[in-house]
Symmetry: C2
Amino acid sequence: MVVHGARGRSGRRPTLEEVAARAGVGRGTVSRVINGSPRVSDATRAAVEAAVAELGYVPNTAARALAANRTDAIALVVPEPETRFFAEPYFSDMLRGVGAALSDTEMQLLLIFAGSDRERRRLAQYLAAHRVDGVLLVSVHADDPLPDLLSQLEIPAVISGRRSADETLPSVDSDNYGGGRAAVEHLLDRGCRTIAHIAGRLDVFGAQRRVDGYRDALRDAGREVDEELILTGDFTEAGGRRAMTELLARRPALDAVFAGSDVMAAGARQVLREAGRRTPDDVALVGYDDSAIARHMDPPLTSVRQPIEDMGRAMLDLLLDEIADRRPAVSRGLDKRQLVLPATLVERDSS
Amino acid sequence: MVVHGARGRSGRRPTLEEVAARAGVGRGTVSRVINGSPRVSDATRAAVEAAVAELGYVPNTAARALAANRTDAIALVVPEPETRFFAEPYFSDMLRGVGAALSDTEMQLLLIFAGSDRERRRLAQYLAAHRVDGVLLVSVHADDPLPDLLSQLEIPAVISGRRSADETLPSVDSDNYGGGRAAVEHLLDRGCRTIAHIAGRLDVFGAQRRVDGYRDALRDAGREVDEELILTGDFTEAGGRRAMTELLARRPALDAVFAGSDVMAAGARQVLREAGRRTPDDVALVGYDDSAIARHMDPPLTSVRQPIEDMGRAMLDLLLDEIADRRPAVSRGLDKRQLVLPATLVERDSS
DNA sequence: ATCACCTGTGGGAGCGCTCCCACGGTACCT
DNA sequence: AGGTACCGTGGGAGCGCTCCCACAGGTGAT
């Protein structure tokens, strides 16, 4: 929290040139020291470092950006309105992961919302101006034009989740298929016989995969898949209520529900309570996301946890790789540019 | 969402010079058009704009920053850990206000957390590098060194709330004194006779002012101020519980509580319920902040509302003024650099 | 001794803009 | 007619870096 050097009121900031003069070396040498090049003798390095400290030298980022054609900044782009950003723990967890990984770096993180059309235009302008070296894209829908824009501008990008099985962009996803399986296998273990599924929006690839996991878990256990037991909500509480109401009408004897998100599970829970069904005794319930909602439900909700913070970290790592690789125009193969992290079941009292 | 111009795969971005050549004018003229200078003939302006569109020209921010010695970016600095940022609606409201006001501008907003020592060092480095033209400082404690650092670096800054009655930095505050008065006057109107106050941390100037408002409202109504009825929490739920417990022990007959924050009110409410006191019948309750908590309490909490979004807007306006004024080294008087916005009581069922 | 080849260093060129001075032209005065 | 004022315009200088080439001096092989 201390400003180094005796600069004080002077106003003007020292330049590389001045540091060089003070250390009795050339401009290039100071630059090498500042950037940690190994091609500097120890004695010279020490002299330069002393001069830097004495003058309180701080590199001018604008000059560096201009000369080196990079900004040392990346953006976390949230194609959602701010309200959702604050409402859903997904984003804050992601931000925390990215932020943590970033603090080992000289990189700067920008948070950009692109919920409205207006914001999206601003973002497009921003990207066209190449004000960031790379972009982290969270929560992308299948038909979002943003990824195309990014590749058109040749800006490195990593997305969270995949848009489809053959995602082209580097991505970090969690194992939605495995998570879906785990939820259903758990319910089967508990002895449940009629397990329904409230799926999320099927234009979200992850939601599809959870359904796949649900189906395969049942099949592998020798059960038949009853398509009447699969309904889609839209990831909202109201959607969960609607689906649950319909399910009770279709199959009054069901004894378990796997919901594709905690929020939908909360909606389902309300309907179940109103219908006089106890949880877990009459109907066991499992959610997805392991959000704060799950912990605060009554009874606390069993839920599938995605390692969101880790995903954030992984995304940043991938992006930094992309940025580094793009410099000498190397185009590596697709090896490990698609990461899938495991999802794990967190057992609570609702099942 | 469309990239203008026929650039496509070319890679290199067009420069001012190229636009000038295409438009058949000089570099200076293009610069004037881009920056909206009035000293350009209409015909020339049209020609330049056409060339800009054809080439898909976007100014290089780094070059501009270097030449003009400004960044066109400001920072919203939150001297708190991220968790608090997401937990308290205060910050998101503030961000929304600032963001809204900013979208009329070419300025870019950066969100910077400075909760840990490490983050603070990073921030200091960041500011020393003058990577922003100005700083919005929210939630500053009385002894925070950040404001001093900012003035030492001669970076324009505006803070939310004041550190003391004679705040030197430009600031935007809400009328905490008036808010406190309004809360107490409301309780007096309701016929309450023994009104307690759970104050926030007294090193926060606003919390002090709320106490002042509490005192004066009672005095002006001809009541005596019973110092035993004033306790401090620390703005937390636990603090609210503690204070309420102590208050019940000291003055079992109290019939109203004015809490300096909704969170503390929530803590107090729990203790009251456990003690078998009904709200509002036995003990009326008023909070402060009008946060989501207030709306979701049972019964919904009467609370004092601060126009946080407006405060955010006002802060940005002040800051932009500061930045503009600093350019020709003008040092205006202190007129209207300290803004105080009104606080209003929102009546609900707890009182 | 000659040559090739390192390592450490200095400094020119250039990144793309803004700032500002200078210039020609027109308009209006005396 | 000459003078003065201003407008619109062109382009040089310079912002503070990075990149890279050149070069001195050392080292080891021939």
